[in-house]
Symmetry: C2
């Protein structure tokens, strides 16, 4: 029976998208490593971040900037996340700071203290915090000390709601960063936009068909898949409110409009004309898109207008060459 | 001060590589979703996996295969991970199964129960398990029920120790899978191999220079960076024990041999000759590699032999054309 199923790749860790919106997070330290952690954290949008570190010259400038940013600075500052800077060294003897965050989380009705990140040069302190966290069953990460980490941070790239993590499970952080840069180039422009636009379409569909039963949910999901699978990521990113409105009209007639059915530009109207003609004579697939020129994701790869024009020009040229050749041949034989 | 620092991208979740080697994991359910979870789990190599599900026709065939695989099947089976299948419906009233795993973890000296994954059709059961896990501070994921998830699974690709997760934080799972397939194509063949070979080199270096002080660690790290940064990922993947031995000889002389310095083939010897000549006349950078033709990762992009030969042939052609033109000009002016 082996061979039928995917082989096990022993990566050694489980990649997860940890949900922190209802949690507070405690970060101990304010050096360059803590600063990089803080950036990860503000992108993750937790309920609140507590930072425990003395206010001295060792505070990383970017970290200081984010901790003291104007709440209105938004994405340019702390991303709208509340950060409380407790300006002293972590008191390892009573763990008062840990207790403070724990109590705040429980009192506020949130999910409590989600995790503790330690990034200080004080190895003794780190070990004590780690032990206390494990006693309290709070996930902990001590930078650069693998045995004191319940989780690692990989190399991450972000585009809006999209995030990609490259992990080598600590075996090659530098190769991970190199691969992350290669991957960055392979992600189409507007991937983050495309995800947002699919979210908009899903929300609009729920307004048109608000049913909450399992059948309604399944129907909506099926239609969303039919529509989005025939749009490329670049096309999804270009779906504006007008186009969304026209796509939604397909829901009533149980059809899945393609990009070329709803795009406004003249060239796309020509393409849509081609699509409709193709459908009418039965050349095109049931989704209404070209049955041949699809990428491995099942998306239409080329604009049908371009394909058609290419065919036309190739035909013109072939014919002209044939005519010229025949002309020459007949004029030669006449000689 | 804004603008200096990266903008916050509100992805809404924290991507983590969760360490499970000392933990047990409880999986409730054995349908297709549970089966996909189980594959993630065996790749993560936890201490032990407990599965609670009745032994009936609803068990997914791949899941049944992995749960009952011969331990010697290795990567083709359960990847060497111990799986205990508790063949009954989860008893939500006493949570006996959860208690069993908790006690086993504590008794065995391991890290205890790391997380609970629920993938059943029984929504009432799922909600009860989730509540009990939150009471016990055990991270939990109930498939398809976001409010009952402390973490999500993204779309993951794996190559040996390398793993890449694409997450849209639940906003576009289908787009995540499409991007994962695009990313798959951008990852060089042998990326997993390259990570393994860098690990081998690091281990060999520790045998040559076993110092445990901070200085020794920093020196080793610096040299590893100097070496690996001038090897492409494809070259690293080809580092065999002979080449590794020759690379290590660079440690004593504080030099960082490039691929072309240590590769065995004749063509590479020619390339190395070119590199050495370049270094001798001071044309090449201190690392010994071309100062010009580097990709954004700082790696040598082309084989110097090819570059040189291209230059040579271009020169030959330029000269020939010039000579021919001059010849023609002078013969014309002689007429």
């Amino acid at each position: 029976m082996s061979g039928e199923y995917p082989l096990v790749e022993p990566t050694g860790s489980l990649l997860l998208a940890w949900q922190v919106s209802r949690e507070s997070i405690l970060l101990v330290g304010a050096g360059p490593v803590a600063s990089s952690r803080l950036y990860h954290l503000v992108c993750a949008q937790p309920r609140k971040i507590y930072v425990v570190a003395p206010d001295d010259d060792n505070v990383d400038p970017e970290m200081r900037y984010r901790m003291t940013a104007d709440p209105d600075a938004g994405a340019g500052g702390n991303g709208g996340v509340e950060i409380e800077w407790i300006k002293r060294k972590y008191s390892e003897h009573d763990h008062a700071d840990l207790q403070l965050v724990l109590q705040d989380g429980q009192g506020g009705g949130g999910g409590g203290l989600g995790m503790v990140l330690v990034a200080t040069d004080d190895a003794t302190l780190s070990t004590r915090i780690c032990a206390e966290c494990r006693r309290l069953r709070i996930p902990v990460n001590v930078a650069d000390v693998p045995p004191e980490c319940d989780f690692y941070f990989g190399s991450v790239l972000r585009r809006g709601a999209l995030s990609v993590m490259v992990s080598t499970n600590g075996k090659g952080p530098r190769i991970a960063a190199r691969l992350r840069r290669r991957i960055e180039k392979s992600i189409p422009d507007g991937a983050g936009e495309a995800i947002a636009r699919v979210g908009d379409l899903r929300a609009a569909l729920r307004r048109v068909e608000p049913g909450k039963g399992n059948d309604a949910i399944a129907q909506r999901m099926q239609w969303m898949i039919r529509v989005s699978d025939q749009w490329s990521i670049e096309q999804l990113a270009r779906m504006d409110p007008d186009m969304r409105h026209r796509v939604l009209q397909g829901w009533a007639t149980d059809s899945a409009p393609s990009y070329y059915d709803v795009a406004p530009a003249r060239i796309n109207s020509l393409a849509a004309l081609g699509l409709r003609a193709g459908r009418a004579v039965g050349l095109l697939g049931p989704g209404g898109s070209c049955p041949v020129d699809r990428d491995p994701d099942g998306n239409v790869r080329r604009c049908p207008f371009v394909l058609g024009m290419t065919g036309f020009v190739t035909g013109l040229v072939t014919a002209s060459v044939a005519v010229a050749a025949w002309h020459r041949y007949s004029s030669m034989s006449r000689r």
